[in-house]
Amino acid sequence: MNNQSKKKKSAYTVGARRKAFPWMVPFASVRLTLTLLSLSMILIFVATLEQVRIGIRGAQAEYFESFYGIWYYPEQFWGGSFLSVVPLPIPGGYLLGGLLIINLIAAFVTRFQWSGKKIGIQIIHLGIILLLIGQMTTQAIQVESRMQINKGESSDYIERFHGVELAFTDVTDANRSKVVSIPEELLKPGSTLRVPGFPFKVRVKAFGPNCSFDFKESAAQRSKITMDVNRGIGASANLSLSPREEDYSNDAANFGYLVFQLVNGSEELGTWLAVAHPAGNDRWKFVHTKLEGMAFQPLRHEGRLWGVELRSIREYLPYSIELLKIENEFYQGTDIPHNFESHVNLNLESGQKRKALVYMNTPLRHGGKTFYQYQMNKAADYTVFQVIRNPSWLVPYIACILLSVGLLWQFSFHLINFLRKQSKVSA
């Protein structure tokens, strides 16, 4: 072996790598790994308990999609009457996951031996790192939406399960409509928004993710929050509302609300109330005839007709899906669903049509989105798809392949060595 190859080899020894990355050494500790894994178990235990109280979505947001969560010891447990008042910080999924990734990478760099003998273990750990990164990326960038289609009709947009937007739609032209949408993050009470492409300024007076509402006899009887509403459905129906906490439970129905004023220059045009129906604003007509107009509150200006609504965050697609037929099957003699099927036409951007069948665990994938069969109402002839956009959906598959290869390599290596030793002994 010459000097050059010796030098090259020395760059890959554990000692050399520790020298090159001394700051990584403390992060590579096995104790840290065990501590993080123990805390992960606690996190899963606490989140599982909390799931009963705040639902899957709530537990996910509070504990897994955060750096820390605050947990209160359940009153029903032993000593709960004393301990339930103490807020206990629990490390969140982002914190533990992030630290585990750093810990594994640091161990990979400063502790593992890079030799053919150990390459299986290295591949396994690489797979785990990829799995963690993939999961965290998914949690951070995956977007879940829904698409509802009536039989015989097609839809070219999806709506988020959570979050609303204020949308102004100019419907004057027969060939196309102009939409100006303001996401809820900008709808801060007290703020005034200058909206490009819209003739008025929007002054936000009140906004919330959920409310309950009822009708009053007169404007004077309305709640303080809608007292000033003098235009649109809020005024004509004398709506009074009470803000409520956002419901994260599985069967949550959050009615987001917004009280806003439109201002033309310095002239105040009036105050409107908009409420978003969680199943889409076209459902308002089934709630009460007085509320039917909540899906399109008209505004006229300079020969243009605009409609305003607060609605679930909407994303338009360059293609559409047409519902041809729906079928549902139940286990014999029960109401338990066995299979839901939606026969659809995918109307592509190019104008071509593609027939597809969407049923349980067999989604339709197109344009970076996956359409899963989610709900169905045979009586009302509509289907609902859960639509997932997850650019990192391949990462877990690659990680699992790496894990399998690593395990296979490691076991094969030991098996061959074992067999060699056995044959030597027998010889």
Partner: protein, 342 residues
């Protein structure tokens, strides 16, 4: 060598760490106001206009399907301009008669219609142009200028009802208003308020609109009797329908019930409790009373609504056999009454 294997490894490891930290912190939703165009999906009727500077919009005409305006003058709002959609093709003769009878004209026929009918092109739109001036009123007579636009099977009526001088003065504004309008019927039902015939300019404040059955013949209205219709059958039986309005409660419920009972020769009631003639009712979400009384020859179906400052009476009276036939039409009419105040 700058890119030896150790350096490449260092860069790779650092990038991996950076990427994982980036994932934790930078993956957020876009929070910008967005503007984009979509294929039309709104199914309601589209009615849009550009209002002349000296015109005002009459408040709280709910829904996107019609509009109502006035001219701002030094002596307050004057005249009434409207946008009236009809889903079906309404004949010019019907529209002309609807307004003509209000202004004292004899019923127009096909051969006499040309006396008041011309056509006018405004921008790209072609209107039927009907000019009616109140008879028997020589100085500054009331005038109805009716612009009728036909689009496919739709009929759009733009009535301008005011004194003749005001109409002359506002003619250019009316024409520019017509030019600015965009009207398009949608798939949804159009709920057109009753045209100006049911809402003359000298009506009491806050007067309602309504839809009367097609076979009811419009009669003469006044400031008190704001609507008048007659219904007859082949046997010559007749019913008279009216909507009247008075300031205050005009004696209250019992007094008015007894007045109606006397008109069909039924004994008066002593008290409102347990009277067989009255039931609680609702007109345009306002508390009202439904009155049903009949003898063998005459019948009155009515509704009494006592508002804050005015009382409203909806009454159909006449032959009992015909009243039974028209009862459902009368009740249907009550459901279409709209005060446009909520």
């Amino acid at each position: 060598m700058y890119f030896n294997s150790q350096n490449i490894f260092k860069i790779g490891a650092s990038n991996l760490l950076f990427f994982s930290l980036l994932c934790l912190t930078s993956c957020t939703e876009e929070t910008e106001i967005q503007t984009y165009y979509i294929p039309p999906e709104y199914e309601g009727p589209v009615v849009a206009w550009k209002l002349p500077p000296n015109w005002g919009e009459n408040p709280e005409l709910s829904g996107p399907m019609a509009g109502s305006f006035h001219v701002k003058t030094n002596s307050g709002p004057q005249g009434r301009i409207g946008v009236m959609p009809f889903r079906e093709a309404v004949s010019t003769l019907s529209i002309t008669n609807m307004f003509g009878m209000e202004l004292g004209y004899e019923k127009f026929k096909e051969d006499t219609l040309s006396q008041v009918l011309t056509t006018k092109k405004v921008g790209q739109k072609k209107f039927e142009w009907i000019h009616l001036t109140e008879r028997d009123s020589p100085s500054d007579p009331k005038t109805a200028l009716l612009a009728v636009l036909r689009q496919k099977d739709e009929t759009w009526l733009f009535p301008f009802v005011a004194n003749a001088a005001l109409i002359d003065q506002e003619m250019n504004s009316f024409i520019s208003f017509l030019d600015s309008t965009t009207v398009r019927a949608g798939k949804k039902v159009i709920r057109a308020p009753r045209p100006i015939s049911a809402a003359p300019i000298d009506k009491p404040t806050g007067a309602p609109t309504w839809d009367a059955p097609d076979h009811w013949i419009t009669g003469k209205a006044s400031s008190v009797r704001i609507a008048s219709y007659t219904v007859s059958d082949e046997d010559g039986n007749e019913l008279d329908f009216s909507i009247t309005s008075f300031p205050g409660d005009v004696g209250g419920l019992q007094s008015n019930v007894n007045r109606w009972l006397t008109q069909i020769e039924l004994p008066k009631i002593e008290s409102l409790e347990s009277t067989p003639y009255l039931t609680s009712y609702s007109i345009d979400e306002k508390d009202a009373h439904l009155f049903l009384a009949e003898n063998t020859e005459k019948t009155i179906y009515g509704a009494l609504l006592f508002g804050k400052s005015r009382s409203w009476f909806f009454k159909i009276m006449g032959d009992t056999s015909l009243a039974k036939v028209e009862k459902e039409n009368f009740l249907n009419l009550l459901t279409t009454v709209c005060f446009h105040d909520h």
